[in-house]
Amino acid sequence: MVRQTNPVLSNATVTSFQKLNSPLQLINPWRVKRSVILGLKSLWLHKLRSLLTAMGIVFGVASVIAMLAIGEGASYEAQLQLKNLGSQNIILTSVKPTNTSTAGEEERSLVIEYGVTYRDLEQIRATVPGVEIAVPGRRIKDFLWNQTRSIDAEVLGTVPWFPEMRNRRMVEGRFFLQIEMEGCDPVCVINEELAAKLFPLSSPIGKEIRLQRNYFKIVGIIETNATGANTEFGSKGMSKADESGAGDSEDADLPMEMMIPLSTLEDRFGEVLFKYRSGSFEAEKVDFHEVTVKIDDGYPVVPAAEAIRHILERNHKEVDYKITVPLELLRRAERTKQIFNIVLGSIAAISLLVGGIGIMNIMLATVTERTREIGIRRALGAKQRDIVLQFLVETILLSGAGGLIGVGLGLGVPVIIEKFANMMTIIQFWAPTLAFSISVLTGVIFGIYPAIRAASMNPVEALRHE
């Protein structure tokens, strides 16, 4: 072939003419890079339009991340609770009944009697297999005093092995001992929160706390139960009664706790607990405020809980108890997580669908708008796949950019949720990656059709298009 050579074209040009028909042309990185630059330019040309078009993807991606973060947070929280309460445990709590049917009667009597009794526990031990009454506990809610400082707190009478059973860690000092339990000694362990409030300046170990007329020597500080699960179940009935007096109550989230030997509590305060609150007087007789029933490893927890429920139903006229099965809590949390996933997943799916359709719509409009350009490019040697690549890259850039903004938003939303809805959220490292990939995929899915439509235009007609 004796073609005239343009003086400008070098030999290198001629050789590069020869690698034309390579099937890899579409995914040639150089070509993709140029298409990306081209795509960015034309998106930048219509900044506002591009931004608005990408909005659907932005929200879709943000909800994907928020969904995953909330779901993870919920299940983490549940696992934390499970860890605190023990997976083999069943926790029975006494609940002060709301005076409904027996109102007249109750008001007459000075002492309100309710809750889990010795009799219940006897029957449970006798009938439910593999059961062990692990941690009995009674609670008093009253003011604790350090000299002139006072604070409304919960006093839990319990057993020396409480920390192991509930996975609670000692921060300082020690928990009270068996020997102190046997001797009904006036010793106590307080939680960090209470220590910080009552003894802000010095270490409380060795100091004394006053509860009504009794002084308790502090032997250790235990970590605060961050999840609040313990008190949530333990004091519902009481806190209701105390609402009037608890005007100075501190952060509801962080419970103030003091633990004393159960025997000491019985010894000092007797079977009937009296409370004087802002002039009024109340007395209640509760055998146990809280009992942790441990099921041996070999036995299933949920049927055991069911059996216990039957026993309590038979023994109590009113529902003045509450059965908490941590394992069920976990299940419930899983269900909550599932519901969140369904709700947010639907939002994400709808956003992405609508966003994708929006992108497709705009891309179809763009294709029509740029028919002339397509014609020119075709006349100048662009193959159909070059046009496909050009428009597909543009769509992917659009949805990818939306995805990036969405990731930013999605990382922000859980922070807000955590702050205002008081829910724990966890962002897994793979969540943004996944959400971003989904946005890119949306671009591919919804970009294919406009791109093919652009490429299949007749060059002659495209050139004639006004």
Binding site: N6, V8, S10, L20, G375, I376, A379, Q384
Partner: protein, 253 residues
């Protein structure tokens, strides 16, 4: 620059043989071209004239491989391109043909130099190299100082010069110009024609579609189309075409 070869030495670049183009419009079939036979030689400087509706645009589309003939053969540099697949046609257009349009057809969002680079881009030529080629071509058409301007910032004549530079970028075998001066005033149009003359002097093959007789006078060969047939060819191929036309007219009439 080598001296212009004599006609007998010149090799044919384009050979059209009995090319017909039909357009289906419902029941009726319109024959835009009814058997065009034409040979274009290397270095030809041709103007194709004719009233509107004579098939000029159709012929140009077929010559430019933008469209394919319904009947007949089209040999471009010896290769039959009448029945090529779409990708191969793109290939032929990008590599062997240069287009110049009446309305310039520059891509508005690209700069002068980027517009000239477009055909090179589709031939897979590296960024650096195509930039060099494009800059040098812009220089040749007198736009060396406006490489980074957008088409909207240029006058019509300047835009058309960008289009010429773009048509030259791939060193095509033939340059096809469709009413290249149609949108320009006589001064700018004259400049464009001067560039065409220079290109032909340098051995380029040009086919100009026009209805401007003055433009036709500058070219070395004039072809007149009428009713989808070659009515006159200054190179002496008019007679058979005329007879063909008459015989067809008789048979159809």
């Amino acid at each position: 620059m080598p001296p212009k070869p004599r006609m007998s030495d010149r090799r044919p670049i384009i050979e059209l043989r009995d090319v017909e183009k039909h357009y289906g419009m419902g029941e009726i079939t319109v024959k835009a071209l009814r058997g065009v036979t034409l040979t274009v030689y290397e270095g030809d400087y041709i103007s194709i004239l004719g009233p509107s509706g004579c098939g000029k645009s159709t012929l140009l589309n077929i010559l430019g491989c933008l469209d394919q003939p319904t009947e007949g053969d089209y040999l471009l540099e010896g290769e039959n391109v009448a029945n090529l697949a779409d990708d191969d046609l793109s290939q032929v257009r990008g590599k062997r043909l240069g287009f110049i349009f009446q309305s310039y057809n520059l891509i508005q969002q690209l700069t002068v130099v980027e517009n000239i680079e477009v055909p090179l881009y589709y031939q897979g030529i590296s960024e650096k190299e195509s930039h060099e080629i494009a800059a040098s071509l812009a220089e040749q058409v007198g736009l060396g100082s406006r490489l980074d301007h957008r088409p909207a910032e240029l006058s019509g004549g300047q835009q058309q010069r960008v289009a010429i530079a773009r048509a030259l970028a791939n060193d095509p075998a033939v340059i096809l110009a469709d009413e290249a001066t149609g949108n320009l005033d006589s001064k700018s149009g004259g400049d464009i024609l001067q560039i065409f003359d220079d290109l032909n002097q340098r051995g380029k093959t040009l086919i100009l579609i026009t209805h401007d007789e003055g433009m036709a006078d500058r070219t070395s060969r004039v072809i007149r189309l009428k009713d989808g047939l070659i009515h006159y060819d200054s190179m002496g191929q008019a007679a058979p075409s005329e007879m063909n036309y008459k015989s067809k007219a008789l048979s159809t009439g």
